[in-house]
Symmetry: C2
Subunit: 139 residues, 2 copies
């Protein structure tokens, strides 16, 4: 999660919403990304989506059944849908997102075999987001 | 929808699940894509996702509020989530997908302002899918 937070901070330094993700397979990081919706001018360029694509590329296969995704914020519906298609083995997220997180819309969005853990380094992950939007609003 | 069907058939000819999408803005097609999950080895490469990215690129802006997406099959949760972020103005789809379509998981997945129409050229769109999976199974 520390690595995912580093990606989030890198994203923030480029003016992006500070969310980061890494994919781990057999104790190795095989993909990492920060949110890039501004840089790519593309709503689909969430950290998780970019990390899924990069992980599939690294593995040479579409399915991530043996992988864990660490992400600083609860995935949205789009990312949860993508993680479901990828049949990801495990998702670990930091801060919850009651407004856009997938739990708010569809608690069964993920593949039934996917294990989910939440609240890891929650304060650090949430604080990055809170501070980012406070700064935006005060401008 | 005829153009979306043409994209679906093109996808099928390349061994992809036959789904196609086009994005129309001010009576002009600004993006078109077929499903490319096999070619790109990437679960996120659905026709709708690729069309959203291409449309944003064509417009030079992330939001597709003035656009209509025509897609041969009801969008899945991932694509519905992406269409929500894009705040697409209107979605027209052909065949319903009771197994993976977004309605099965979250009827409120889309942006509240998005207008949805379904059942346009439904038979042609559904038949492509049915025949594709029948052929797959009989191999």
């Amino acid at each position: 999660m520390k690595q995912a937070l580093a990606e989030a901070k890198k994203a923030q330094s480029k003016g992006e919403i500070p969310i980061g993700a890494v994919v781990v397979c057999q104790n190795q990081i095989i993909a990492r990304s920060g949110n890039q919706t501004e840089a790519l001018n593309d709503v689909t360029a969430h950290a998780e989506m970019l990390a899924i694509t990069a992980a599939a590329n690294a593995l040479g296969g579409k399915y991530l059944t043996e992988c864990t995704l660490y992400v600083t914020v609860e995935p949205c519906l789009m990312c949860a849908g993508a993680l479901s298609w990828a049949q990801i083995g495990r998702i670990v997220y930091g801060a919850s997102d009651e407004k856009r997180g997938f739990h708010t819309f569809a608690s069964n969005a993920l593949h039934p075999k996917t294990v989910v853990e939440s609240g890891i380094m929650e304060d650090e992950c949430a604080e990055l987001m809170t501070r980012f939007f406070q700064n935006k609003r005060s401008r």
